[in-house]
Symmetry: C2
Subunit: 258 residues, 2 copies
DNA sequence: GGGTATTTGTCCGTATGTATT
DNA sequence: AAATACATACGGACAAATACC
């Protein structure tokens, strides 16, 4: 058994103090120079130890201030299961993990683009790669804080066959699914969600104010909605920061999530 | 606008070469000393750049060998939605993201413990903190590779009221939900899943062979099963490595996930 | 607003250890 | 056994962010 490297021993020592509560949420750690003297190591070794705690989400460093134990956050809970005929526009109700009343997300007007379907998106919509799709991209906030990024893709056909409002740069108040049903007689009979965890891209990092290294993952929910013929007609991709969001799935007769 | 630090510029440069395909999956990057000469930086700065790519999951380093672009992995897909009356023992079918046929997980005999319910678990089971629960912990493999860790918690009542097999250290072949129904007349009417992303603990890191720093997250699915009285009687916590697993949720009449 | 002290961030050079081929 | 490549550890210098007077 090789001995543990020094920076790991130091990190474990600090981790234990945090988990035992000796260093509680929000409190400041000793400065790097103080830790250097305490552990009789070089400042760079201390920094390696602190970096380990940082990637594990236990502490955060603030330039010019110090290193702090991260505070507990109460995550938002989004319910994925809902009415097969209407869910798909957006998810079900959103709760704070500790509260009973649902929260109301605020959605910005969409950025509308015509794009070529490529890769995964084309597969899920069941259209050939390179075909055109309408993309509607929105930012969503809860109580002023960035909460999710959402992009919906529709086959170009739908818009050309009468659903012109898909091109318009404003929210479809009654919901896009309802609009398509009224306009084109397109009846949604169900949807499926694919849940993926991945590293955020540059836009997500800046919108959610995530750390520049990719240590905080994002949850991506890819929702494909199907019509009565069993053909997909809509793909909605929602992205949430994984450290402050949870997803709920309800099956059968169960009380709502706490 | 402050200029980007050098190690970030180098990381971006390499990232671009990876994403453009100039450096394809599995290929080896130049060694740290070669990169040091190419970018005219010190080896430590090169290492900072590579570490950034490592936390973002783009490359992996192998001591004595070199740095390599990570190969694409085809994730397993686990379906969370199923029959309200039976789902809960285990999840729905498991697919390879590219294949049509479901895979068969292999489950080890459980490690059975009597524990005090604490914190989150007690809340979800609706029992007072400190009450006893039966914990059954299992490791699951697919095609020989570690796939998930699963722990089920039952209130001690159930076992004392006649479901003694909960204490036994072997698999309940017909499924624990079916066993409880036959033995105690306990009818499951539904369940809800809470999906959480978090950093792996020490056991998970070693079982899944994850990197020692916590850069690969795990998906935790907490399934609470309810009986006909609307009371929870079982909590199953399943943990999956987030980089090789996806979750599917099906609502309404939709084809199975591809 | 300006200046100064404190604290973390970046970058360098060097030496030695460990894993792999 | 030797060579190669990444890992650990040290020490030093300066930059950038923040807080405080």
């Amino acid at each position: 058994m090789p001995p543990e490297p020094m920076y790991r021993q130091i990190a474990d020592n600090l981790r234990q103090k945090i988990e035992s509560g000796e260093l509680s949420h929000g409190t400041q750690l000793p400065t790097e120079l103080e830790l250097r003297d305490q552990f009789e190591a070089s400042r760079n070794t201390i920094r390696d130890a602190v970096k380990l705690l940082t990637t594990r989400g236990l502490v955060e460093t603030r330039p010019g201030q110090g290193t702090f134990v991260v505070g507990k956050i109460t995550p938002y809970v989004t319910t994925l299961t809902g009415d097969p005929g209407t869910g798909g526009d957006e998810e079900g109700p959103v709760y704070l993990a500790t509260a009973a009343e649902p929260r109301s997300p605020v959605t910005t007007p969409p950025r509308v683009e015509i794009q070529e379907a490529r890769g995964a998106g084309a597969d899920e919509l069941g259209i050939p790669g390179g075909a055109s799709v309408v993309s509607r991209h929105q930012r969503r906030y809860i109580e002023g804080t960035p909460w999710s990024l959402q992009t919906s893709f529709y086959p170009m056909d739908l818009a050309l066959k009468g659903a012109q409002r898909l091109f318009q740069v404003d929210n479809i108040e009654e919901g896009a699914v309802e609009y398509l049903r009224v306009t084109l007689g397109l009846q949604q009979v169900g949807y499926h969600d694919m849940i993926v965890v991945r590293v955020p891209d540059a836009e997500e990092t800046s919108f959610f104010k995530l750390p520049e290294d990719g240590r905080v993952a994002v949850l991506e929910v890819r929702r494909t909605a199907y019509d009565a013929n069993g053909k997909p007609f809509r793909l909605t991709v929602s992205v949430y920061p994984a450290d402050r969001n949870r997803l709920a799935v309800l099956v059968g007769d169960v009380p709502p999530p706490q």
